[in-house]
Structures are given as C-alpha cells and as structure tokens.
Amino acid sequence: MSTDTPPTTRNQADSRRGGPPSGDALLNCEDVSKSFGSVRALADVSIWAHRGEVTALVGDNGAGKSTLVRCIAGVHRPDGGRIVFDGAKTNFHSPEDARRAGMETVHQTLALVPELTVWQNLFLNRERVRRFGPVAFLDRKGMQAESRTMLSRLAVNVPSARSRVGRLSGGQRQAVAISRAAGWGSKLVIMDEPTAALGVQETAKVEELIRTLRQDGMAVLLISHNFDQVMRLSNHVWVMRAGRLVGGRRTADTSGDELVAMITGTLTA
C-alpha cells in the first residue's frame, strides 16, 4: 500500500480489514514478506492483534498462516516489512528472543517432554536454582509450588505437578502447554491448532483456558481450522490465501459462510 493513498481508499481498506488498527495494538505486522528460494510464502501481509482479545488467523493449508506466525515468533526472519511488538520494532534472531520480549508459542506438537514431570516441563530451560559457590542446585520445592500456582491460575485440572506428562490425557497436556506459555509474564500467546487432537469435552476446557487468558488482558493469536471455534472464541479474524491477506473482520460482523467464501476465493474481501 503506497503512502499517498487517498483518504477514501484508506477508509475502504479499513473496512476490508474490520476497522483500523488503533494505536494500542500490541502486535502490528506491516507488509511482512517472506520467500523460501523462489517460493513467495508471504506477500505484504499486514495484521494486528490487541490486548485482551483473541485474534484468529484462518486460511487453507499452505495459505501462509504458519509462516507468518513463525516470522512473528522469531523462527524465521521476514524479508520485508516490519513487525512492531509492544511499541518496539522487533528484531528477533531466535524464538528465545521473542520469548524474552513476552511472546510465547504453544506449538502444535506442544513441545512437552513426556518423560519429564509437569513441573519440569513448565520450567524447562527456565529452571530456578540456588547457588552454592560454583555449583547451582535446582530449587525443586520452589518450582513445584510455583507450578501449582501456575496451574491453579488457569484452573487446570492436572492430578499433580509431580506426575509425568506422558501419563496425562491430551487435554491435560494441552493445558500444561498453555499454562507454560501464559505463566511467564507473557503478553502475547500464539496457539497453533490448540484443539486439533482433542475430544469435545477437552476442547471445551481448552477454550475456557483461552477465555481466561483473554480476561487476564493477554493477546491471543489463534490459528484454527475450526470455524465454529473461531466464531465462539475470537474477537477479530484475519483470512489468508496463497501467502496474501484476503481481509479482516470483527468476528461479531461476520459469519462462517463469509469466512469460507473468503478462504476459497469466491469472495474477495
């Protein structure tokens, strides 16, 4: 989009996106592009996400959702455009950088180690230690207590912080992964298909968790193939197709049918 866009066109563009980004958007992607060799995976994609809202990202397989999310979370570096997070342009070299900035990702694979306990997973690579001169020992009691707090904040139903993750159900594992993402003073939680592998009851519980995050003022960026879920949970929806942004809608102003039409290309915003 050129800078000398006439006001009328600008307003049309805003209406295509479900309103302009207000100044306090936590995350603002502006014309983000990414190519892998000769394949243009993302072309000038601009989206934003607000605090205290669930922002959904929908689109067919290969639409570029995952690539966009990876650019945001520091896995890939965008070739063009810029990403502003919490008021500062990001320059992440790794997911660690993004994590330090307050951005957590719940991977589709959950990135949990089944052999480790719940508390070990919650604190993986962020273990608390007590130093005795040159050696540092794990503060196991402290981490176990803190784990219980993290789990109870989201009302997560896990038997014990000391049980092995491999013995938990799919929904419980998802809840542990979400608790870990939410538990570190994070401002944005990115979730990739959080309920794809879950049954009806467990899906309901995870959705409840996502609502809790929103109530706590966090921004949630949700990738989902489930339109009912998007309509139930999200405040804003972005639709992508073939590496481009088709458009954005306030969830209250759209319908599942309209989203499907945008995704398949029968409706061009």
Binding site: P95, E96, F137, L138
Partner: protein
C-alpha cells in the same frame, strides 16, 4: 493416552499391595529385586558367598564396571549409546603406561590417561552433535580407532606400571571398603546429584525424552550430547586408572566384556534405551548384580564358559521386563 483423571490420581496414591501386583513396579526395580534374589540363591548354595571377605572382593571387582556404567548411563539417558567406553578405557590405560615408562610422575600420567580418554569422548560428542552421525556408528568407529591407537602406542605389549600410589589405590582400605570402591561410590553420588539436582540433569533427560521439544524450548541439545559423551570418556579414563592399579600393568587388551557389561548394567538398572528415563542407582545396582552373578558362579565351580551365557540371559530378561515400565 486414555488415562482419565481419576486413574492417574489413584496411581499416585495406590497402596503397596497394589503396587506389588503391578508388573511395572517390578520392571522399575528389576536390578534390585534381581540382586536380592541372586544373593539369597548363592548364599543358600554356598555360604562363603556372603562372607565379609567375598563381599569386599566383589565390591572391588565391581568398582571399574560401576564407573563405566555411570558414564554409559549419561549417554543412554540422552537416547545415545557409547560403544567405545571399553576401548577408550584401554587407550587411557595404555597412555598411563606410556607416560610412566617415559619417566612421567604418576600424577601426571593419571591426568594424561583421563585427558586422552576425555578427548575420545569429546570427539564422540562432536561427531554425534555437529557431524549429525548416528551415535551407534560414531562410537563403533571410535571403538575401533581407540583400540587401534592403544595397540600402536603400546606396540601391542603390556607395560608394568610400578607405583606405590597405584598399589595403595588397589589394596588400601578405609574401614571395610577398598579405595577403588570409594572412588566408584563418590562417582555414583556426584552423578546422582548431577542427574536430579542440576539444570544439566533436566536438560539431558529432556534431550533424551524428546529432542525436538527440548530444542523448541531453547535447550542446547547439541551441547548436552557433547557433554554426556565427554563425561563418559572422562569416566573411562578414571576407570583406566583403577584398571591399571588393579592389574599392575597397562595392557592393550580389548576388554570387550566391559563394554557389554556396562550396557547390560544400564539396561538392568531400568534406564530406557530410548532415553529420557533413568537413575544412577539402578545401573550401579545392575553392575553389582552382574559382578555377583559371575562371582557366585565361580564359587559354585561353574565353568567360566557359562558366565557370558548367564549374563546374556539375565540382560535379555531384564530388557523384556522394561517393556512393562510405567
């Protein structure tokens, strides 16, 4: 993965009687149960088995294997395997003999042995982590390379290592325990603390349990791999010192039994070959069990030829049991 809440809850608080009926309990404690059974059987068959003298001798005989098995545990807990432990130990022993024959003082010779073995371990780790070659192939290669180097350096001949320090290490005692036993015990205790009380311990179990997840959380899985192989190498060097002290000479012998027994002790100890699960106490008890088995058979006058057979059967049975681990 169909465990419901209640099922998980019940398991954490189930009474002892229920646990005894659970095959998983026996799988977790295979080495301890096996050792107790073995001790009782041998004691009934030949009461000399449990005399103070014989127990002391068994502990001394087990010391080298314990040190090697602890190193092997670090590697196997990350879903790797160190096939080169025994030849790395041989190389360390030969380096010790070489240094001693060239007039080095014994402390420097021992340091050289540990350094040489540690370098072999480091090479293993770098090849596995950075070279992206399977653990099995890398350590199979260093197994051959290290024993070859040992033959070259020693010219295939054993070297006498006359040293009052090594003599004391082999024969000295504090209370009923020989120095070698104490060295092995200290190694085991430190290893246990590292495993369960440090960040490195969690990271190595995470690397073994699910490498991709560990990496996604920012764990340096390559660093962990390099570290565990180096630890295994350094411990092989320490075992080399114990070995030279015990036989009074540095021999370029293959020591294949030590390789097989170190893996066997780890398997007996309930450490998963797929990584992510394990203890130090398990493999230590596993090493004691294997030593007791050989010792008991010898006391009973069973031909030496039957010993590898017995060890093999015990290990395969233990591996079968681990299928039922919880």
């Amino acid at each position: 993965m169909s465990d419901t809440n209640t099922a998980v809850g019940v398991r954490d608080t189930e009474p002892l009687t229920a646990r005894l009926r659970d095959v998983g309990f026996w799988a977790d404690w295979a080495a301890v149960v096996g050792l107790v059974v073995l001790v009782i059987v041998f004691f009934i068959a030949t009461p000399t088995f449990l005399t103070v003298g014989n127990v002391e001798a068994m502990l001394v005989a087990a010391a080298i294997l314990v040190v090697l098995a602890v190193g092997q545990t670090f590697v196997i807990a990350t879903a790797g395997i160190d096939l080169s432990v025994a030849s790395t130990m041989t190389l360390g022993a030969v380096m010790l003999g070489w240094a001693s024959a060239h007039g080095w003082n014994i402390a420097a010779a021992c340091v050289l042995a540990v350094l040489a073995s540690g370098l072999v371990g480091l090479a293993n780790g770098l090849l596995v982590a950075k070279g992206r070659i399977t653990d099995f192939i890398v350590t199979l290669g260093t197994l051959s390379a290290a024993s070859g180097a040992a033959l070259v350096i020693s010219d295939g001949k054993p070297v006498q290592v006359p040293s009052s320090f090594l003599l004391r290490l082999a024969s000295g005692t504090i209370g009923p325990f020989g120095y070698a036993v104490l060295v092995a015990a200290v190694v085991a205790v430190i290893a246990h603390v590292v495993f369960f009380r440090t960040r490195f311990g969690v990271h190595l179990l995470a690397t073994g349990g699910d490498k991709e997840s560990a990496r996604a959380m920012g764990v340096s899985t390559d660093g962990v791999k390099i570290a565990v192989y180096t630890i295994s190498g350094v411990l092989a060097g320490l075992a080399a010192i114990l070995l030279v002290a015990r036989i009074g000479a540095a021999e370029p012998a293959a020591n294949t039994a030590f390789l097989l027994n170190s893996v066997a002790a780890v398997v007996l100890g309930g450490v998963s070959l797929f990584g992510g699960r394990g203890t130090i106490i398990g493999p230590v008890v596993g090493a004691l069990l294997l030593t007791a088995l050989v010792n008991g058979l010898t006391l009973l006058g069973v031909s030496q030829f039957y010993q590898p057979l017995a060890v093999g059967i015990v290990v395969v049975l233990a591996a079968l049991l681990t299928r039922f681990q919880r």
